[in-house]
Amino acid sequence: MKAPKTIWRSLVAGAALSVPAAFAADISGAGATFPYPIYSKWAAAYKDKSGIGLNYQSIGSGGGIKQIKAKTVTFGASDKPLEAKELDEAGLTQFPAIVGGVVPVINLKGIHPGDLVLDGPTVADIFLGKVKAWNDPEIKKLNPKLALPSTLVAVVHRSDGSGTSFLFTSYLSQNSPEWKDKVGAATAVDWPTGVGAKGNEGVAAIASQTDGAIGYVEYAYAKQNKMTFTSMVNKDGKILAPSIEAFQAAAANADWAHAPAFYLVLTNQPGAASWPITGASFILVYKKSDDAAAELEALKFYDWAFKNGQKLASDLDYVPLPASVVDLIEASWKANIADASGSPLWK
């Protein structure tokens, strides 16, 4: 009759041990899939340091917005910033957390990454179906030295709603009045031509199988899979290849200080070194949360990530926010987020 007693003892001991863990509840968040790899890497490092974990469900930006509005999570994450009016109606505030870039990828024999130069209007005409072959004068004009084949252009786009598509179509809308008029910018649009593939991996698969294909993927994906990305002409008229530095330049040159509620799409930013299709992924939290303690933990997590997570971000080909932007974000926390008594939550 000794064994059951031992079991009871160990059960009691186990319950006693688990009590402290119950106090340090995990932070819960849901939303965008694009930043999921870096958020989970940050979360693992943060848990080692603070003992507080992050439960992040990458269900998509639309889902993230719905969940934070339903208050089932402490923060929502979206690749597309919400406009100030929508934020106010829901009592939310937002801040950017990580930056990434979108690159056009092509499949043309003999053309290496960065060889082909494209600009906004040309990419728009290709995706509108107006430029049908690779030796079209519009492409030739930008690439006088390149031997371009007469291969037909096969357009590949994302079939699932995604932040990547939102950035890409925003960029095309800024560069082509016709695109803005006919198609517009959104996470999913009525594509005039081409085939739709699911996820970055789907676009990459079809682009790499189809001669003459052009698609667009996140930079990290293109780099890790050694895809043929193109160079782009940016707003200042400079030709440049995609790189972490080029995305960071776009984030730094953007006018964050004058953007209400950080509503800023980073496409087509000025600056000689700015990659034109850059975007930030945003975090949504309540201005006055029902659970202020949980929200404070979430802010602490992002504060830690902004200050200590740069290396982890660069390792995964994400772009950490410039220090100047981090200062603006934390100033906005002080100004906008209050605890139950109405005094600032972030001190």
């Binding site: 096969a154 079939s159 085939v195 593939a197 079809i206």
Partner: protein, 329 residues
């Protein structure tokens, strides 16, 4: 209601004590209630799904009305939505799947039951069952990375050039060979429905009394004549049931189709062109759908698929009923 006296009387007939009889009665009641509530659960869940679908699709129904069914628009930016391309894609891919799947499935089933040497029966049967066990995402990935490049390189260019001079078929097989598209989705689906149709038809073929078949052979029938005039008439109800099971799977299949159909909200005359289906559209766009009208339109698509599946099942029931009355007459 039995009185105690009656119970005692019955018990004495069967030489069972009244207590045992009461116990049996109680157990029967428990079983009856348990199974009845299991059956009711199904009805409640089904009713809940219908209510949720109708409720969710009300905003889109109010906004677009019946025009939703005939509109070919799908523009999330201007919030103009219509179901026709998705319905068209769903029906056409399932049709292609059935065109390829039914003859092959029946062929396999006939071979296994009539012609196959005994030692080969097991391996083929197991292989077919394994085919049913493969998750649909695997079919999708295989379709995208293996089947699509093969079709693009070796099959589609041939189809395009072969049918180019033929008046009507040139439209059906036109356009650049993307590898993915309506035809590829149909082919993948035909492989996926194969195990369902095959295993049902094989099982019903095996119910044909050996006496019937042997008499036919004795009269000098060929194997084909036996299958055509004895096996198929005897089992047609089961065969149609198997086909409907496969069709149901083809109509609702999501992941594999999403990978290979090209996801374009367009109705093209060519079956090589990209298209979309109802379930592929929902799977692609639901998670990132913003705004009530967009979400509601996707739920309305789901409701339409529900209705299509219901019509197919009802048609199958009706067909079976007619066959049965014919057989009796």
């Amino acid at each position: 209601m039995n009185t105690n006296a009656q119970v005692a009387q019955y018990a004495s007939f069967a030489e069972i004590s009244p207590a045992a009889l009461r116990r049996h009665g109680a157990w029967d009641a428990v079983l009856r209630n348990a199974t009845r509530s299991a059956a009711l659960t199904v009805l409640i869940v089904l009713g809940g799904v219908i209510v949720a679908l109708v409720n969710g699709s009300l905003p889109a129904l109010r906004h677009y009305g019946l025009g939703f069914l005939t509109s070919t628009a799908w523009n999330p930016v201007t919030e103009k939505f219509g179901a026709l391309p998705a319905v068209y894609g769903t029906v056409v891919t399932s049709l292609i799947a059935m065109l390829i799947g039914i003859p092959v499935s029946l062929g396999v089933a006939i071979f296994i039951t009539e012609l196959c040497p005994v030692w080969l029966k097991r391996p083929i049967g197991t292989a077919i069952e394994l085919l049913a066990g493969i998750p649909s995402i695997i079919y999708g990935i295989w379709g995208l990375f293996v089947l699509a490049p093969f079709l693009q390189r070796d099959v589609q260019p041939l189809l395009i050039s072969a049918f180019a001079p033929v008046p009507l078929l040139s439209h059906l097989f036109a356009g650049p060979p993307y590898g993915i598209g309506v035809l590829t989705a149909g082919i993948i689906l035909s492989i996926m429905v194969l195990p369902y149709i095959t295993s049902v038809t094989r099982d019903v073929f095996e119910t044909v009394p050996a006496v019937l078949k042997e008499s036919a052979y004795g009269l000098g029938c060929t194997t084909w004549e036996v299958v055509r005039n004895v096996v198929l008439p005897y089992t047609r109800v089961g065969v149609i049931g198997g086909i409907m099971l496969g069709l149901g799977r083809a109509l609702g299949e999501t992941m594999a189709v999403t990978f290979v159909i090209g996801n374009a909200h367009k109705i093209a005359s060519s079956i090589l062109a990209p298209g979309t289906t109802i379930s592929a559209t929902i799977a692609n766009e639901f998670s990132e759908a913003e705004g009530d009208l967009y979400t509601s339109s996707l739920i309305l698509l789901g409701l339409i698929l529900f209705v299509i599946t219901f019509i197919v099942l009802a048609a199958a029931r009706y067909l079976l009923l007619r066959l049965e009355t014919q057989a009796k007459a």
